[in-house]
Symmetry: C2
Subunit: 699 residues, 2 copies
């Protein structure tokens, strides 16, 4: 429970300062300005008073109980301060001070020291190198933070890895006049983690939606498991920055903890239904809609407009978000004919025209509310100078109050004019989410619809194939690991595949020419022969693969030639395999991700993966629904169904194959990389034709 | 010259009204509110005064000269009013009234009537069904418009097809406190056109940048030619809505003039260097940067930040816009070491840290100004509560005043606090383009860099191949046209290709089996045989193509079989052609676009065009530079260079081929559609292997 942190009854400030431009002063002023209802205890041995409050020489001197302390002193004194907090019975500490893990070895040592002290007393630590928290509950008004935005109470809770972005989000929400509930930015996050905060927000009934800013996760699996439960209850709107290589470099330079472009975070978002944004403004504007509107039951939008062009822009954007703009039913059109001006366009968008007043808007709104083909409503409302704009706003508000269908409003006006300020105030008071331009309003509605889709999506459960022989596969890996081989032999790879029921083309291994010829005859011509040698990792590039060998003589000549040419690499083994021409070449791959598990990749092989990079990733375990999404998600999905009169491939077999690969990976976490490349797919069967497994070996 | 419209010395209002909520009243109040320096003449027979001004019974009664008149009366009276304007000597008329071409046949008739009257007197007409114009020149203050935004003087001029979007753009500019020069929204545009207005803005020295909103052009070629000259002088920032099918439908329903998704407008923007936006907010925020900043000489950005996360977000977005974030040179880093705090990150982004004040910001700015590897500057400036933010703002302004390198600033603050309002005022006064979040600032800088790239781009001139036989090709088309054949025969298609030096595989035509065999022998085996029959348009789907025929017997059997199976369609001819296996299959196509000329298409043939739609379009004439851009622009461009050890194709030959196709199209405008499909490309030669031409026939 993080109540001591988010709902403190008394706050001590170790490092309270009388200097106006110092954090130890700003936090106290913020607490006072915001009207904190608990006790504030400045700790400063040199001052009698700080910001008019009595100051204490040490924490021990504080008369009352303290559940939360800020620490704002140079890093070398922090371990001792934590010790004193422990003795005082402080339950949570926000360490605002910097100079720890982000500053190299010495800082890391200090951090370990104060963490040990905290554990001794069961203190939860927030930070270090962080801003703090805010709780806007009017019963508490806890502004334990040095930022400058004073949010009004509301239902949006924010958590941000970066204090700068956190402050920005809080500010933009406030500029939009959106109330906020909790705020947290935990800097180096040595103890209280973002997943933990998300869980806390998830359990908080007053939080309706969560905004998250991150640059990656130290423990992505922990986030995945926690956030999965939260998204089932309420929306998480998230932005992960550091998408580009340069952005990731900038991120790692300021957090000191993460590096490299990770695709895993976006995949986590997708898997568990976190709404992912690439633009911070768009995310916050979407939150505005979530804070007041119900979730749309579907993606069919009815548009009401009193001006042409903005409806065109909105339509484009709504379509980009996969909304539909359906035709209105005849009954709806008939009702519109009775109520709208003759110049009105009685389609969807409904153009009520610029002269439309309250009655015309209201009639159009009622038609959309009653039309079963419409799930949500988009309104363009320009304050035409020749209409009673207040009356229009009042009708929109009345319909909004019914909460029958979600709506957003693009409200185009001059806010400098008193007349329109009044109109705006009506919309605001009526909790209509309104935006300054059509694109912004449409994107916010798009996010609502997207969350509706997430709520309805069920990726199902992982299927466990009972005929998998996990013991056999584990034994193979154990043996390779024992003998220090990171890259498994063909025999081992195919053995593992067979253990998991992954279909492979008929095969055998051999160590000399005679054995190869014998194996080929047994398998039946034509065959493929591949060298199998730990020293030759990329055998195809080395000329170690010969396809479509049709008889004993061809096999004999090929193997002899390979022995001559490649023998100096080490002892050559050979893999003999049935040659299967004419199928569709696919690739299935996997890689282990730090602290997360495996990513599974699917795509078309050959130039499609090499040139087009046309592949889809999912996080294991992959369900049948997700596997089907992988097949449908590649740009060249049509090729799986066959083009130009070809027959398609056996997609169900591929979906099963992906699930079996997923099960294999979950059972064998020591696999670092695995490729089934190619998988040859035919109309009624599929085969892994080549495979490669690299494992992790403990040194 | 549109001076009478944009710089009127006296404005008459035919339809002036005493009713407050009417257009005929609002326009007069707007003129008065804005402080119009010319004469205002209300025309209203029933009132003595309108808005305190003397009213006249008829236009003829007006004592002084009138160069501009508004007409705000029911549509049926407009032709007579124009007649009276003509008699009075009015030079330009804004017809605000609706009820013309957008309202069906009767409206069209009225429009023709008043247009005839206008031509008789040489009156220029603006509208009908429009808002009007604004000229913010303080010497004139002409607010000939019924909207509600009163722009301050500035250097951005706006033209919008949609009044709603035009008003929105004007309002957002004003919200950002950006000055504006001209505004125009011309509705149905029966006379004065958007290209004409763009030309006028282009010639206006006080206009530094132009914002254009459109949903397509009635005369795209006119726009292309006009705007091409303007973009060489000043930037045009444009948004074309109706990108999606549904958006285009919404657009056509409110303009009544355009339909269907057109790709041509975006291609025009690209060809002539108009900056294209898909978001109206982004476009206007970019205009803010253009209104004060020089154009970057290159794409290398230096980032200064006093907070980590927003620099990560900015970096991501800048990289999306193809900017580079280069390492700083050693001299720069050394200078930073001397001037920055120890915790600062002396990389790019330069993190001056939250405690940085004016001196630290200034020193970092000076380093970026002096570093030759940096073309432009991005600043994150969060108003940390423990710094002198005014001092920081003053240093940014001083550097901005030097105009040495363009800069944008993401200014993150709470504008409700007086302290920061002051900081903001310093930035504003100093003409620093500042934005409320990192993405917005980065996108604005991205647009500046993009325009710098446009200014440096030279697509060169159309090359005219002198060995083209235009006369022969025109004669072929003339004959087909005379005999009423829209789809040309193979003989005709290949004749035209040969006339333009388009390489085709050796070929001949024949009408019976013996001739086919003789032709095949002469060309040399293997050959392809295709039926050639006007009734069979898609011969491949009909089984009318046989490839890789190796000898006389195979040809004989094939042709006999085709005659039996397809003879009932009509008289069959045959095209015999050299079979050329093993090349890369390409497609070059062309289609005529209404009022524009031809679009030329290039892509890889087969599944690449069918499944991936991986094609690039350009507007003819296509220069060598543009043809090279087409080859480089497809997603599968790597295939042209060869993958997996293949040799690449002869790209120069394809570039020449595209130019020859372009020349052919420009010479023969009656071609509606043309395909070279496939073109077979090899390492050192290319051939059109099949072709199809459809022409326009006048009835």
């Amino acid at each position: 429970m993080l109540d001591a942190l988010f709902k403190p009854k008394a706050v001590a400030l170790v490092g309270a300062s009388t200097k106006e431009l110092s954090i130890g002063n700003v936090i106290i002023r913020n607490l006072l300005t915001y009207g904190y209802k608990g006790e504030i205890y400045p700790v400063n041995a040199k001052a009698d008073k700080v910001c008019g409050l009595k100051s204490y020489a040490t924490i021990a001197d504080i008369p009352g109980e303290v559940d939360l302390a800020h620490i704002i002193i140079p890093s070398q004194f922090v371990p001792q301060a934590i010790e004193e907090c422990g003795q005082k019975g402080v339950k949570a500490v926000i360490i605002n001070s910097a100079g720890f893990s982000e500053m190299g070895d010495e800082g890391v040592k200090l951090q370990e020291e104060f963490l040990a002290n905290a554990r001794k007393y069961g203190i939860r630590l927030f930070g270090p190198n962080c801003q703090g928290i805010i709780n806007s509950d009017p019963e508490l008004n806890a502004y334990c933070n040095f930022t400058f935005t004073f949010p009004k109470p509301g239902s949006i809770s924010v958590v941000a890895l970066s204090g700068g972005v956190g402050a920005l989000i809080m500010q933009v929400l406030d500029d939009l006049d959106i109330g906020q509930r909790f705020y947290a930015s935990n800097g180096n996050a040595c103890d209280v983690s973002i997943p933990e905060i998300i869980e806390y927000y998830g359990d908080d009934e007053a939080t309706k939606a969560i905004i998250l800013y991150t640059e990656g996760f130290d423990k992505p699996r922990e986030f995945l498991e926690v956030a999965r439960k939260v998204t089932a209850k309420k929306p998480i709107l998230a932005m992960k920055a550091g998408r580009t290589e340069e952005g990731a470099k900038a991120a790692s330079s300021h957090t000191g903890s993460l590096a490299g472009v990770d695709i895993a975070t976006e995949l986590i978002f997708e898997k568990i239904g976190v709404l992912s944004f690439h633009d911070e403004g768009e995310m916050v504007r979407a939150a505005m809609a979530f804070s007041s509107q119900p979730i749309p039951a579907g993606n069919r939008v009815g548009i009401i407009t009193n001006t042409g062009g903005p409806a065109v822009i909105a339509t484009d954007v709504l379509i980009d978000f996969d909304l539909e703009v359906p035709k209105l039913c005849e009954a709806s059109i008939a009702r519109l004919q009775e109520t709208q001006f003759p110049q009105a366009a009685l389609e969807n968008p409904i153009d009520v025209v610029a002269t439309a007043g309250g009655p015309q808007f209201r009639a159009a709104l009622d038609v959309l509310l009653d039309d079963d083909q419409i799930d949500c409503i988009y309104i363009n409302f320009v304050t035409a100078p020749f209409t009673d704009t207040d009356a229009v706003a009042r009708e929109i508000v009345e319909v909004n109050r019914q909460r029958r269908k979600p709506m957003v409003c693009n409200f185009m006006t001059n806010m400098k004019l008193e007349r329109y300020q009044k109109t705006m105030a009506i919309l605001k008071e009526g909790e209509v989410p309104y935006y300054a331009n059509p694109g912004d309003a449409a994107r916010a509605l798009g996010a609502l619809v997207q969350y509706g889709r997430i709520q309805q999506r069920d990726i199902g459960q992982e299927h466990y194939f009972n005929n998998a022989d996990a013991t056999r596969a584990a034994a193979i890996i154990h043996e390779a690991s024992q003998s220090g081989r990171e890259v498994l032999s063909a025999l081992e790879v195919y053995g593992i595949f067979e253990a998991y029921g992954i279909p492979v083309a008929p095969w055998n291994v051999a160590t000399d020419v005679e054995q190869v010829v014998a194996a080929a005859s047994e398998i039946g011509y034509p065959v493929v022969v591949k060298v199998d040698c730990a020293e030759i990792d990329h055998k195809s590039d080395m000329g170690g693969v010969a396809i479509n060998l049709k008889n004993d003589v061809e096999v004999l000549n090929t193997v002899t030639e390979m022995q001559d040419r490649l023998g100096h690499f080490g002892e050559l083994g050979f893999l003999v395999q049935k040659f299967l021409p004419g199928g569709r070449e696919l690739i299935i791959g996997a890689s282990a991700e730090r602290e997360l598990g495996h990513l599974v990749m699917f795509g078309l092989g050959g130039i499609y993966v090499e040139v087009l990079k046309d592949v889809i990733f999912k996080i294991a375990p992959v369900t049948a629904v997700e596997a089907a999404e992988m097949l449908a998600g590649i740009k060249t999905a049509a090729l799986l169904d066959g083009v130009r009169g070809e027959t398609g491939i056996d997609k169900e077999a591929i979906i099963e194959l992906i699930q079996r690969v997923s099960q294999l990976l979950c059972d064998l976490p020591m696999i670092m990389e695995m490729d089934l490349n190619p998988v040859m797919a035919f109309a009624d069967e599929v085969f892994a034709v080549d495979g490669r497994i690299r494992i992790h070996i403990d040194n």
